[in-house]
Amino acid sequence: MTMRLAGLLPLMLSFGSPVDALELPYNSELHGFVSQSYLISPDNPYVGTSSDDGSFKFREIGINGFTEFSTEFRVAGQVLSRYRDQADDGDLRVDFLLADYQFFTNQYSAAGVRVGRVKNSIGFYNATRDIPSARPSFNVPESIYFEALRDTLLSTDGIDLYGSALISGNQINWELTAGRKTVDSENFEYYAFAKPVPGTDKADVALRLFHVNVIPSFQKDLRLGLSIVDVDLDLKDPLSLQEAQMALVSAPPGDLLLNPQNYVTGAGIDGFLTLLSAQYSYRNWVITAEYFNLKNEFDGEFVGNAASSSATTEAYFLQTEWFPSPTTSVFARYEELYLRRNDRSGDQTAADYNPYRGFGRGWTLGSKWSFRENWSVSGQASFNEGTAWLPNFKGIENQDIKKHWNYYVFSLNYQF
């Protein structure tokens, strides 16, 4: 699939700017992007071992289109291919596909409804985390938008009510979303157990979301955001009780305690996420901060025996961006993530192969240069302590994980 998509590249390059773009009938447009990265991660394996001494196995391709049937009614869709070494093979998937009916609008307010697969507006970056032109560099802040929850939170199949209003000079944008989706469960398995769970590879996710952004009347350069998400995830088709009992019989004594993930007969998480966002723009500077608080109620079943626990995952970042010219940007970011907020050293979540998975602290420096219309190059360097946001991949449990790890990325991006 990736190869076939790569074949589209020359075709895409033949389009000019968004303006002269590909004009389609019925007020339609077609757009897309390609991003190819070179990633070096000398200390820890970054979604595979290829990046130890540098790898090109990082590529994102997206193609989207929309058709406006009237000013009230439009449909839009996007397919996305992500190639990330061991974690993602670049298979095409539907990123969003929606019908949008804006039933009310006047000079200062609007309201509408979208139905289909919609991107979830969580914080400033969730909906655009895969869009190179909408993020500072290779990735969005990993403390809050860490890969383990990506699939769970990215989008949902359901309904999205949205609106904007001007109330006493305050500009308000809001969204209410509810839906369900089936996702790959591998990331959840590593998030919950640090290792893969036998038998299952999918999870059902139910999600309800409230999101609001406010530009207050007293300070138009300020943007405040609040996202509240109620998310439930359930592993599909784990081992049956009989299979787990069989496994236990043939296992060495004590293995149930050492490797509980091998005896999971049911697992799910009820999560309640609160995300606070603030952004201040001053001339060619943008300062952004976000705080993430996810309360997890974990319900598991090990060889038929129920076990539950709760924990709060906490994270924040602080980021400064500077735009020295219309075509260049530079940023610096500091961030922290704790899988359990009361366990800053990560002792409770330590795994045998990785004692550092419960916490992450790090700096990222980066820049972007749009060297010609539609094209940009970007680079970033990340310096980390603890591996809470080191992306998982099947086999990471066989790797030697280090506490201090850096990685460096260069990307070439094209968008039309």
Partner: protein
């Protein structure tokens, strides 16, 4: 008595302050812009918030329910950047992000970009519901110029 205006130890600090000041200073003004609309558009005195909403592509229809067609110059043009700050009270890079966000989340679209003021005028003249801008001294005809205290 010797007055030392710039003690040696402070030179570095002064230099840093100078650099910071230089960074914070916006490029020189490009001159005023005038907002032009197609003759079918009936609004006259929009305030900046309304214009901000229109150019941020948050509003799709004019009060008479006809479609709004937004035209801009490239984000890198001085006229566009000056227009965004002066008339819409938003930085051009922030507008870019809003447009990219809408385009790539399926929630909206970006304006049509034209590469010159001449082309801008042509498009505004010929497109029903169109809104755009040119510099103050650019001669225009067969379009309406928006006036109002806020402009």
């Amino acid at each position: 008595m010797k007055i030392q205006l710039l003690p040696a130890g402070n030179k570095q600090k002064t230099f840093i302050l100078f650099v910071i000041f230089w960074f914070l200073t916006a490029p020189p003004a490009f001159g005023e812009q005038k907002i032009i609309v197609n003759e079918t558009v009936t609004i006259t005195e929009p305030d900046w918030i309304y214009l901000n909403q229109i150019f941020a592509m948050q509003i799709r229809r004019w009060p008479d329910s006809s479609a709004i067609q937004v035209f801009t110059l490239p984000s890198t043009s001085d006229l566009h950047r000056e227009f965004a700050v002066k008339k819409l009270k938003i930085q051009a890079h922030q507008l870019d992000r809003i447009w990219n966000r809408m385009l790539f989340t399926g929630t909206g679209k970006a304006p049509t970009v034209v590469d010159s003021e001449t082309k801008m005028l042509e498009m505004i003249q010929s497109t029903p519901g169109a809104i755009g801008y040119v510099s103050r001294d650019f001669p225009v005809s067969e379009v309406r110029i928006l006036t109002g205290a806020q402009l």
